[in-house]
């Protein structure tokens, strides 16, 4: 493929993925308000559009028109940079996620992901998300406010701690697939066993790995029951106490974009990626893999919201004890058991 065409295709793919991602972020917020509302015997948003479907647009407009305050006591360069760091790295990590098999258009093979299939795609995601913690930490520090600082400190300690369990829970899958490439990992999960059970890693001995991943992912994205960095009852709003208008919205977007990335990763690693039953005419067969992928990510996001509507918040010492004394040993044991099983 000539370099000019390559760049054009990359730009188009980036634009489509970003558009879909940001729209999903907006509608995940709507879904969360709606689902949690129904769980608490309320209606959730109903006023703007049918079923409140235009609520995200109204929220976006409100964020744009709110006064953009910068308090006088903050350390300005980092105060402005922190939301940027958070949102940029949250959006970058989606770039190595593959959404389906290669597509052939006009004789050119176009992979359904922004980058080409790099051999270390998974490591890149882990690296980018581990840099994302600076957004939260620096926001907390530069706000020059004790609640923000405590939130930032909590967030960085929590994310560093749970990153280890997150990585270890994924190594089991890597051992089974024998590759870092997300595409190879999905291909390794094709087919069925015992006639009907799909060959996904979650059914193939990685159920404990999936459990560890789930717990660590909730902690990494600062979601209930691990949302200590922004615990309202103790810290006002944690690291984003001093932020308003679009700067606050950027943290919000980063959080939900991270949730979606984590959901995509869970789908690729444990839930078989875009593998699923294919039927019907060729057009339908081309669309179905992407549909299965999106459906699985949707289920994962629904689980996130369900957990949010169900569980209370941990205490901070409980959070740390859970991460280091329970989750890490379990993830390690799972890794060793998987290694022995594969070597057998």
């Amino acid at each position: 493929m000539p370099i000019g065409l390559y760049i054009l295709v990359s730009v188009i793919k980036s634009a489509i993925v970003l558009f879909v991602l940001l729209t999903s972020v907006a509608y995940t917020v709507w879904l969360e308000r709606k689902v949690v509302g129904h769980m608490q015997n309320r209606w959730g948003p109903t006023r703007v559009g049918p079923f409140g479907l235009l609520q995200p647009a109204a929220d976006g407009l409100k964020f744009l028109f709110k006064e953009d305050l910068t308090p006088p006591h903050v350390y300005k360069p980092l105060f402005l940079a922190a939301p940027l760091i958070a949102v940029v790295f949250a959006l970058t990590s989606i770039s190595v996620i593959p959404f389906g098999n290669d597509v052939v258009i006009g004789g050119y093979v176009i992979p359904l992901q922004i980058t080409t299939d790099v051999n270390t795609g998974l490591l890149l995601i882990l690296g980018v998300t581990s840099i994302g913690v600076y957004g939260v930490a620096l926001a907390g520090w530069s706000s020059n406010n004790k609640y923000s600082l405590l939130g930032g400190l909590r967030a960085s300690a929590q994310m560093v701690s749970y990153e280890i369990s997150l990585g270890l829970s994924l190594v089991g899958v890597l051992i089974m697939a024998g590759s870092f490439s997300l595409r190879d990992i999905v291909h390794a999960q094709q087919g069925h066993f015992w006639g009907f059970i799909p060959n996904w890693n979650i059914f193939h001995g990685q159920i404990i790995g999936f459990f560890c991943y789930l717990m660590a992912a909730y902690a990494e994205t600062n979601r209930i029951p691990f949302d200590l960095p922004e615990a309202e009852t103790e810290l006002v709003a944690g690291y984003h106490t001093e932020y308003s208008a679009m700067k606050f919205a950027m943290f919000f977007m980063a959080e939900y974009a991270n949730m979606i990335t984590v959901g995509c990763l869970a789908t690729l690693m444990f839930l078989g990626g875009w593998n699923g039953p294919l039927f019907g005419p060729p057009v339908l067969q081309a669309i179905l893999p992407v549909f299965w992928f999106v459906a699985k990510v949707f289920c994962f996001l629904f689980l996130y919201i369900w957990v949010r509507g169900t569980l209370p918040r941990f205490r901070y010492d409980q959070l740390m004890a859970f991460g280091w004394k329970f989750l890490l040993p379990v993830a390690l044991a799972n890794l060793i058991a998987t290694a022995i099983g594969v070597a057998w």
Binding site: N119, T120, L126, V128, I131, V133, A137, L153, V160, D317
Partner: protein, 178 residues
Amino acid sequence: MVSIHLILFLAFGAVAAAGAINLLVQRHPINAALSLIAVMAALAGEYMLLGAEFVAAVQVIVYAGAIMVLFVFVIMLLNAGVEEQTKGSRVAILFGIPGMLLGSLLIAWVVLKHSGTGDVAVGALPGAPNVIGQLLFHEFLLPFEVTSILILIAIMGAVVLASKPPVPGGTPAKKVQD
């Protein structure tokens, strides 16, 4: 013709050098730490361009993502202020700067004159994760394990240093009830 590869390589190199200089110039610890992160990220870019994807990813995860987070964490926790500016020490002017110049001259001379330093094609040296794994766990197993024991000893040393000795004759600190 100048390839896009070379341009990117020089750009990442410039970012790394600028970050390193900024690290020395900045007076606030947190700015210095952030410049160091920029240096490490730029180095990861260089590794990536040289075909060492795994090393690049590990560089970002371990250095930029874990070690520097702890640096920033400590700076935030101690709430370290702006450094005091001195007029510069005499030792630095007498020995430091000539020493640095001599060292860089030596390195430049070795690189330019020594016959063993030739061009290496991108990807000619092992860089794939499975190759690195084979090297670490077969040929260099002993050094690898010895290093991990060394790190374990360092961790234990840190725990010993950080834990407070029991007060003789006093009551032990009250345990927080779960």
